[in-house]
Amino acid sequence: SQKIEQNSEALNIQEGKTATLTCNYTNYSPAYLQWYRQDPGRGPVFLLLIRENEKEKRKERLKVTFDTTLKQSLFHITASQPADSATYLCALGPNNQGGKLIFGQGTELSVKP
């Protein structure tokens, strides 16, 4: 069956450092991969999308890589800030219209001042 795994442990880093979160998947060939941010008590918020034919995508301090051979995506936050503390979810999307996203369980990031 399809499976997505994110860093199971919470990630604690110092302000100003780069945070790197991992998303691995098996038994799936996604057309695209997305990353969402979720704050406590709130719904997830879309951050970035990367397609299967793209290696890397950037948006301000965020960078996402997508390696379909390794079946892995890495999500980087450079110059991290305490305000970046949240849970980050990866999600895989299929090729068909209206396709159902499959989500990982999320990684909790804590940035200490």
Binding site: I4, Y32, Q34, Y36, G41, R42, G43, P44, V45, F46, L49, L89, A91, G93, Q97, G98, G99, K100, L101, I102, F103, G104, Q105, G106
Partner: protein
Amino acid sequence: DAGITQSPRHKVTETGTPVTLRCHQTENHRYMYWYRQDPGHGLRLIHYSYGVKDTDKGEVSDGYSVSRSKTEDFLLTLESATSSQTSVYFCAIRGLAGGPDTGELFFGEGSRLTVL
């Protein structure tokens, strides 16, 4: 603001009672989704809709039904609630109104359901 609201935001009910959660959107999106979120499981798809009266099952649909009689409303019903359905339920819509469909979802604020 994607114009999506969920109601009720919090509900406590007893085992065996019916429960209906409502998701309302204001921007004429075609695709709507119901997810549940539980610790250690992440977000799991319950049902989704691709148009009025067009719905399909997700990975955890047992014990749930949905209806979409008009574009703006997507209802999730627990016919007879059980304690295992205690969860946070999120509704989502797909894409930006009038924009290209990139598959991104916009989520509501969630409905926290406790079944005693």
